[in-house]
Amino acid sequence: MSLVTVFTQLMGGMGITVAIFLLTLLFSMPLGMLVVLLRMSANKVVSAIMMVYISIMRGTPLMLQIIVIYFAPYYVFHINISSSYRFIAVIIAFSLNYAAYFAEIYRSGFKSVPHGQYEAANVLGYNRSQTFFHIILPQVIKRVLPPVTNEVITLVKDTSLAFAIATAEMFTIAKQISAKEASLMPLMAAGLFYYIFNALVAWGCAWIEKKYDYYRI
């Protein structure tokens, strides 16, 4: 079995892996921002709910969360699960989970912007949303880029957890071929794929980081 054949067989799975990755980023990054804003809100109840949410998302395995979100409609609400829900459940679970992590990263970013920046903006006549978008957010983005990169790289590898509800992402297929052919090669090929994928992600993030290098905080 050649590497080329293996890659051809893995191809369909790669598409799903990349789709999980991109869709999760698309939803979890803004959702994380919403979570952190609620988490930092003056309303104690809202803030407490977000803390519980983050605590559960970080405190339980992602694999379990995927399973719960997939089966909950059936066991809790007695709705029949259609097969198209499988992929949707994966995206929901990943997005909710990663939003919690991103929220905490963003929070560290917000905390590290000196209070004087808010005060200067206030005295200069900026309203709340102008202060947030013009002054605070750009500085937060610069500060959180390194930890966000880390999290994004973890996400690439975490996509393999979708196998928990039999989503045919790449690693699941690699394991099937590996078992059938009694060879480690498909798994190694999968590993190579993750490595290249992550090298690209790291390169992209480094490029963005460099764009923010024009000033020091």
Partner: protein
């Protein structure tokens, strides 16, 4: 004309009184300096005046308009819209500059003017004019991190002036600077005084306060312990003021 009036200001943090009962007023073109030991409430007073801190009691009046008024023992602030308008009269220069690090020098001065509704063209020409008068023209495209502390403080003065405030507050503007840079910033403030800019300055620079001020307030423990013209205050019989001023001059 009275630019600022503060009547019986009170402020405490978690039940600890920081400002007990302070009244002062500043006329147009006057320079008021506030001196006193650390922890005496000087900065808190300035933060109350610039509305970064909410007062617990007393009146705050700018150009005859009440920003806050004491009613039945409580301090009632004007509406958001009124406060916004009143705030336009106020400029504040911070001890640690608080420039926006992601903006160039020019943009630091231009951006707040755009927020205030000026056209880009007007904002930029005003900024360039200020940069020129403060000797910062060559630095217009640099970022705050590339400037010395003295230069940063001059930019932050330009940023405040660009909004044409009726009164400019300084919160220990030279405390983060070495003597050379301090001199550089004090020169700018003196220049403003000679142009009859109305200013309130919290400072530890005694000679500077003496030379520049029309009125000096000596604060301690949340009260005004002594006040007067520089001449009166520096030749006072008040032992506490004498020892404070003397120690700093020694």
């Amino acid at each position: 004309m009275k630019i600022l009036e503060m009547n019986h200001i009170k402020k405490s943090f978690d039940g600890v009184g920081v400002i007990s009962d302070i009244s002062l007023s500043v006329n147009e073109g006057e320079v008021l300096s506030i001196i006193g030991p650390s922890g005496s409430g000087k900065s808190t007073l300035l933060r109350c005046a610039t509305m970064l801190e909410r007062m617990d009691g007393g009146d705050l009046v700018y150009l005859g308009r009440y920003a806050a008024r004491e009613e039945d023992g409580r301090c009632v602030y004007a509406s958001q819209q009124d406060l916004k308008e009143i705030k336009r009269n106020i400029g504040l220069v911070f001890q640690n500059f608080n420039l926006f690090p992601h903006y160039s020098v020019l943009k630091n001065i231009v951006a707040p003017q755009l927020i205030a509704g000026k056209t880009k063209e007007n904002a930029e020409s005003r900024a360039m004019e200020l940069l020129k008068s403060l000797g910062l023209t060559d630095h217009r495209d640099k970022y705050p991190c590339q400037l010395s502390g003295g230069q940063q403080q001059r930019v932050s003065i330009a940023r405040a002036l660009a909004l044409d405030p009726q009164i400019l507050f300084f919160d220990e503007p030279t405390s983060a600077l070495d003597p050379e840079l301090t001199a550089e910033v004090l020169r700018v403030i003196k220049e403003l005084a000679s142009q009859h800019m109305t200013m309130v300055i919290v400072t530890h620079e005694m000679e500077f306060a003496r030379e520049l001020s029309d009125w000096i307030i000596f604060m301690e423990n949340g009260y005004i312990q002594a006040e007067g013209t520089p001449k009166d205050l520096f030749s006072t019989d008040n032992a506490r003021v004498q020892s404070f001023v003397g120690k700093l001059r020694a």
